[in-house]
């Protein structure tokens, strides 16, 4: 048996899946060929990793985690399954309220500027009558 043939059958040889005659032929070849024997050893070691991974350490809190995940998914589902009208109408209502607010703000701002000038003027006219302290200095008041 040639090296190429052995290398193509090695995985089946290691799994003992070859017919008896071929098993014997590969075994004899490996006994006399260092290169193939080294690769066979390397492959055996690599494939043996599968055996060590078969017995995982089990998480003792696995069931608790499953329950917690299930509950969190249920809460999410409840939130996602609100009626379509609520999901559409709620943002729509908020948008309308916001727009009304902005519009009202602009309107109030516009009316505020005109009335302000008027009220400022009116205040200035009224000062002498309402606030005598502004019209008459305190010193002259005390002097009297």
């Amino acid at each position: 048996m040639k090296c190429k043939d052995v290398n193509s059958k090695l995985i089946f040889f290691l799994d003992e899946e070859l017919p008896a005659t071929e098993m014997q032929a590969v075994k004899e070849h490996l006994a006399g060929c260092t290169d193939c024997a080294l690769f066979a050893e390397d492959m055996k070691k690599t494939l043996s990793i599968l055996e060590t991974e078969k017995t995982p350490e089990l998480n003792p809190f696995f069931y608790t985690r499953v329950k917690a995940k299930m509950e969190s998914q249920e809460v999410e589902q409840v939130l996602n399954h609100r009626p379509v009208l609520v999901r559409v109408l709620q943002p729509l209502a908020f948008s309308i309220i916001l727009l009304i607010g902005i519009y009202a703000g602009i309107k109030l701002g516009a009316t505020g500027t005109t009335s302000k000038t008027k009220t400022v003027l009116a205040e200035q006219d009224m000062i002498p009558y309402w606030n005598e302290l502004d019209a008459e200095p305190i010193e002259s008041f005390l002097m009297e």
Binding site: F39, T46, E53, P56, L58
Partner: protein, 193 residues
């Protein structure tokens, strides 16, 4: 409590039956997921989803079917979906993140050097090579191989899980082993360890 009793009580919403199901089959489910994902945390995460799916769709379970076959099927489908989702994310993610994950793996390997014997390091490197080789197999070959190697299922059992004929499973396993051998030989020749 037998499988039939577990299913019957689960259909009535019995929580104890669900606990029994999880305790009895978690090793099977986690191991199956690990055989395809090769990451313990991901495998546990997907296994949790498997049990949640079982709990929610227990009414659709046919009484004549085998509970373990049903669990294997859900675990395989969920794991394959997880791999597909990861591939999509990786496609959109930056190259940098791939480098980071590789570095993380290497760091894990290097850190073992300080407190563990040399053969531990060698085993970890071998495990990375083996996982990459299995991960690069076509989907069906990968499923057949992992069910055979991690769960020691017979050809007949794999055929039932994968809903294929026994001869198809034989052919899948033959091709999977051939491909795996080719990849390991290339790696050996290139001295990638």
């Amino acid at each position: 409590m037998s499988d039939i009793e577990i299913i019957e009580q689960l259909k009535q919403g019995n929580e104890q039956a669900f606990r029994k199901l999880v305790e009895s089959y978690r090793k099977l489910v986690v191991n199956t997921c690990y055989g395809l994902l090769h990451n313990r945390e991901d495998a546990e995460d997907v296994a949790q989803d498997v049990f949640i799916e079982v709990y929610r769709s227990v009414d659709s379970f046919r009484a004549d079917a085998k509970l373990s076959t049903w669990l294997y099927r859900i675990a395989v489908n969920r794991s394959l979906n997880h791999i597909r989702d990861n591939k999509k994310h990786r496609w959109f993610s930056l190259f940098e993140s791939d480098v980071k994950t590789e570095n993380k793996k290497l760091l894990q390997v290097e850190s073992s050097l300080t407190d563990q014997p040399e053969f531990e390091l060698e085993n970890k490197q071998r495990a990375i090579i083996l996982h990459q080789a299995i991960g690069s197999l076509p989907e069906k070959q990968k499923v057949a191989f992992s069910l055979s190697k991690y769960e020691d299922l017979s050809y007949q059992e794999i055929a039932e899980v994968m809903e294929l004929s026994v001869s198809s499973v034989e052919s899948l396993l033959f091709r999977a082993k051939k491909n795996l051998q080719k990849k390991l030989y290339t790696c050996y020749k290139k001295k990638c360890m």
